[in-house]
Each structure stands twice: as structure tokens, then as C-alpha cells.
Symmetry: C2
Subunit: 331 residues, 2 copies
């Protein structure tokens, strides 16, 4: 293993000089920089991340806290996009990402979680999919002992940022598009919402209420709890008496669409998320595509900014409307 000392010797300078070159310190002569850089290249030197973070106490280590739902693979796709986006960007920024799953935090106190994170040299957190019921996580961000970036949860303070698409606008957009495309007797729309008391659920519901006012249609709302089965049941019950079904997630949209097919009736259905599974519903459907990969990358950037001393803030990511069907998604 080649160390910083080898590089120093090779370049004929002191170790500290090499360190400064690596970390882009000011006040180093062009000539020294060149010599050191050459030595680094020749020796294929890569700084030891372990030693580096021990010494600097400022480990570019961040924990990516995920809630992989083992129930449905639809969530796997989203979680995986978060992972790849975050891991890739982290490497570009020469930071280290530590995946942590909700299940590993269960039955732990906030203090325990904090000491664990500290013992791992973690300075920042990215939390995906936190709900209002996740008590320890809630307290974790409230205590502000870590720099944290929340994904899809609109909370920000001095050391907390969040990144998310504009849920409210996006929900209205996709529903509007779907309704306008089907200018029939579309007076009654059924909205299958997410979880009561959930962050995104409430925003999306607001979007629907906005739209109902804008387009003046009858809106009936039922909570599908992000469950495909639940959405199916709701559609079996209320699908027939409505003209259009708007769902707060793709999974529920699939459940709704399949229920309609079982009933042998057709109504337009739209979803939210833009997952591949949407192609397996049997019919074309509109949905909101969230770019989870980019969202996670942005979250990494943001946590880096926070660690760099900047204030927390809100980062709104763009979304796009798409229409998915089987032949488009298979490869």
C-alpha cells in the first residue's frame, strides 16, 4: 500500500505539502503542485479514506436511510433508484455512503441511533421515506445533531434541507391532463389517496382539491393507503359510479385498473411515480415520473452543502408527465 509519505519522498516535499495539494489548499506554488501531482499519478496513490476521516474528524461519510418495503417490488424500484443515484454521486464527491435500513433502527432509542451513527463517523444523513410515525427519525432530525436531507418530507431548519418534487402541483397536473384528454361526461372523479397523515399524501390531496375547484368537478376521496389491494377494493365499490379515477400512486392505479377490467368497464385511470410496473396494468395510463435517481443525487449535493456550513433549505425538483404501457417498458 502506497502512502502519502511515499508520495512526499517521490516528489521531494513534506507530507503536509502533499496533503495540501490533495485537498486543494491555497498558497502552494504551481511548481510544487505539478511535482506532487505527477508523483501521485506515477505511484497511483489514493488517499486512505479511513485514515483521512479519522484525522480530519470530518468524514465525508453520510448515511442513506432507506425503508425498503419488502411487501412489494414496486417500492424496490424506487429504493434502488435512490441507492444508485446517491451512491454514484457520493463517489463523484469522494464521499462515502453508508446504507442503513429502517429495520436496523427499530427498537433503538434516538440516543442509541446517534451514538451508532457517530461511531461510524457519520456527519450527514439522507432520509428517504420518513413518515410522521417514525418517532426516532423525527426526533433525530429535530435534535439537529446531524446535517440531514429529507427526501419528500417538507421540513427544513438550520441544519435540515429537503428535496422533493412539487407534489401538489404534480398531482394536479397529471389529473388535469387525464381529465382533459377525456372530455366526455367527466363530472365525477374518484381520488384514491395515500396514507392519512402522510406528508406527500396530504400535498397530493391538496393538489386534487385545487383542481376540483379549478375544473369544477365532483370529487370523492377514499384512502387507499398506498395499497394495491385497497385501491382494488375501493374501485370495485365506487369505480362504476365515477368517470375517472385518479390515484396517489402507480401501484394503486394498477390495482384500480385491474379492478375495472374485472368489472369489464373502462374509465381512465392515472397514477403517480412513474414506475416500470405501470406497464403491466393492461392499459395505458398517465402518471407523474419522478426522477428518483436525480433526486437522490441532489440530496447528496445538498448534504455536502450543509456539511460545508450552509443553511438548510428546500430544493424542488422537476417532474414530468408520461403515459406508460406494456410495449414501451419491456426490453
Amino acid at each position: 500500500m502506497t502512502t502519502i509519505r511515499d508520495v512526499a519522498k517521490r516528489a521531494g516535499v513534506a507530507v503536509s505539502t502533499v496533503s495540501k495539494v490533495i485537498n486543494h489548499y491555497p498558497n502552494i506554488s504551481e511548481d510544487t503542485i505539478r511535482r506532487v501531482t505527477e508523483a501521485i499519478d506515477e505511484l497511483q496513490f489514493v488517499p486512505n479514506a479511513i485514515a483521512s476521516s479519522l484525522s480530519s474528524k470530518q468524514s465525508g461519510r453520510i448515511a442513506l436511510i432507506l425503508n425498503p418495503n419488502t411487501q412489494t417490488q414496486a417500492i424496490d424500484e424506487i429504493t434502488m433508484r435512490y441507492m444508485t443515484g446517491a451512491v454514484t454521486r457520493a463517489r463523484e464527491l469522494r464521499m462515502e455512503l453508508l446504507p442503513v435500513f429502517f429495520s436496523m433502527l427499530e427498537e433503538k432509542s434516538v440516543e442509541e441511533v446517534e451514538t451508532f451513527l457517530h461511531s461510524q463517523g457519520v456527519g450527514g444523513l439522507i432520509i428517504c421515506g420518513m413518515s410522521k410515525d417514525d418517532y426516532v427519525l423525527q426526533r433525530l432530525v429535530a435534535r439537529e445533531h446531524f446535517k440531514v436531507v429529507l427526501v419528500d418530507v417538507p421540513i427544513s431548519n438550520a441544519s435540515t434541507s429537503y428535496v422533493s418534487v412539487d407534489q401538489r402541483a404534480a398531482q394536479a397536473d397529471v389529473a388535469r391532463k387525464t381529465i382533459l384528454e377525456n372530455q366526455g361526461p367527466s363530472k365525477d372523479v374518484l381520488y384514491i389517496s395515500g396514507k392519512q397523515n402522510g406528508y406527500v399524501s396530504e400535498d397530493r390531496l391538496q393538489g386534487m382539491l385545487d383542481l376540483a375547484r379549478e375544473l369544477e368537478f365532483n370529487l370523492s376521496v377514499h384512502s387507499g393507503e398506498f395499497s394495491e389491494k385497497k385501491a382494488r377494493e375501493i374501485t370495485l365499490k365506487y369505480g362504476e359510479v365515477n368517470d375517472i379515477i385518479v390515484c396517489a400512486s402507480d401501484l394503486m392505479a394498477i390495482g384500480a385498473m385491474r379492478a375495472l377490467m374485472d368489472l369489464d368497464i373502462f374509465h381512465p385511470v392515472c397514477g403517480f411515480d412513474g414506475i416500470t410496473l405501470m406497464g403491466y396494468a393492461g392499459k395505458q395510463m398517465n402518471t407523474v415520473r419522478q426522477n428518483f435517481h436525480d433526486i437522490a443525487a441532489e440530496a447528496v449535493d445538498e448534504v455536502a452543502r450543509l456539511i460545508g456550513g450552509e443553511q438548510g433549505r428546500a430544493v424542488i425538483m422537476p417532474h414530468e408527465l408520461v403515459r406508460l404501457e406494456y410495449m414501451d417498458i419491456i426490453v
Copy 2:
């Protein structure tokens, strides 16, 4: 942050003694162990993993090398199962898992990859989804500079183990079951195989050849390259003239089944993997359920064994036959 020194002071012993207690060294009196343990509890001390691995040079850090296919979410489910299984087990063993994606290794030489891994203090690797074309990875394991555990790739030597289900037997099992369940005039079976020159593909094909000999049926083989679309095309062409379609993956089974539905004919189809998506094919299908979560956990155990100095070996995991359909998989 409470350090080992604080604990030592609190317990009235030397730091090294605390270290020995933590790492379960022999020759420590019951009494000191008790005192140290108490101090640790009272101070809620958790050893700093960074410092520990810097000092011991023997970081329990392992890289989990994955190939997340951004094309289809079916693969996301599998990749995610690998992740959760490995990460969870790693934490139990107090090891650290570093997720690495194939994309991050592209355009890097073996040497570069090795120095990168070394700089990260990585001692062991778990590689999932390596193919015969992944040149750098191939060389990486051949050089034996790391302890590596291969998933689904039957290579083992002094410092390399592999863990996998018995692909050959499993393929024969699921096909046999499917054929025997449909004791009609099932003389002709179409096998849609995986990638030519692939590790598991070859094993699974062998399983089919075994079975063709055993049950004496006509077997025609076409390569679907693990592509849903390809399987669809093959089925559109040859589906009608065969009685049963056996596929080397669930994804292809879905493609085949949907093709049959488009043709408006029915033949039994079976797949391989046991992914949730299988429920969206439209009909019930047999498949082999591989427990990816446990496989990954086993891989972590195995890499720990290798690091502990044991020889490489083959670990065969159990598989089970299941029949999946929509109502079973939705939640």
C-alpha cells in the same frame, strides 16, 4: 464523543484492557470484564469503527459489488434483496458494507479498482451478477488479492468461494413439475434459455437437457437473452407448435405468457427466480423461488470465514418451487 480512554478512566483500568474486553481477548479476569462492561454501558460507549480499522489494518469492510440493471425493475427487486440481506447480516457481524455498482468500475483497470478498494480499507468482496464478459472483475478474482465470494458464479479457489442454488437441478425441478401437472399430449417443449455463454444460463440449460432425457420429450431451445421482449418474439414464432414453454427467467416467462395471450392460445409456462412481477403476467405460473436475501446473508458469512483464514468453497443454497398469481402477490 466518548472514547475508549473515558471508559478506561471510569473503570479504573488501562485503555488496552478495555480494548481487550471489547474484542473478547482471553486472559482477562471476570472482575475486570464486569467493571469495564459496566463502564461501557453507563457511558453508552460504542467503539469508533474508523479508528479501529485504521489501527487493526483489518477492517471488517467488504464491498458489495452489484449490477443494477436500469432497464427493468424486475432486476431491481433482486438487487434490492441482495442489498438488504447483505447489509443486515453485515451489521450483525459488525462489518461494514460498501455498495459498489458495476457502472463505477467501468473504464477502470484492475489495478485502479484494486487500489480504490484498498484505499477504502476493503478486505473482502461479494460480487453479484458477474458475467463472463466482465473482464476486470474476472481478473480481480483471479489475482486473489482479495477474499471474494461470488454469487451464482461457480468459481472457487483458496481465497474465493461461491454461493448459489443448484441451478441445474432447480431448472429441471420446475420444468418437471410443470410438465407433469399438464399430462396432456405434452410432447414438445420450448425452452427459452438465458444468455449464451452465461454461468447460470448454461447450468439451467443442462438441467433441461437432463430432464428431456429423463422424460423423453422433444426439446427445442432458443436464446431469449433474459429479455422479456425477446421471449415474447420467440413465443410469437414458436409458441403455437409447442405444448409447454419453459423459461430461464421470470421476466421471459412473463413475456412468453403475454405473447400466448395475444395469440389467444394457452400453454403452461414456467419461469425462474420467484420475483413479484410474476404475479402480473395474467395467469398462474410455476417458478423457482430463490431466496436472494438469505443468499446474500450467506455470502457475508462466507466472506467473513474467508477473511478469518478459511479456504474457499462452494455453498449451495436451497430453493423452492412456487406458483404465483396476481391475487397472491398484491398487498
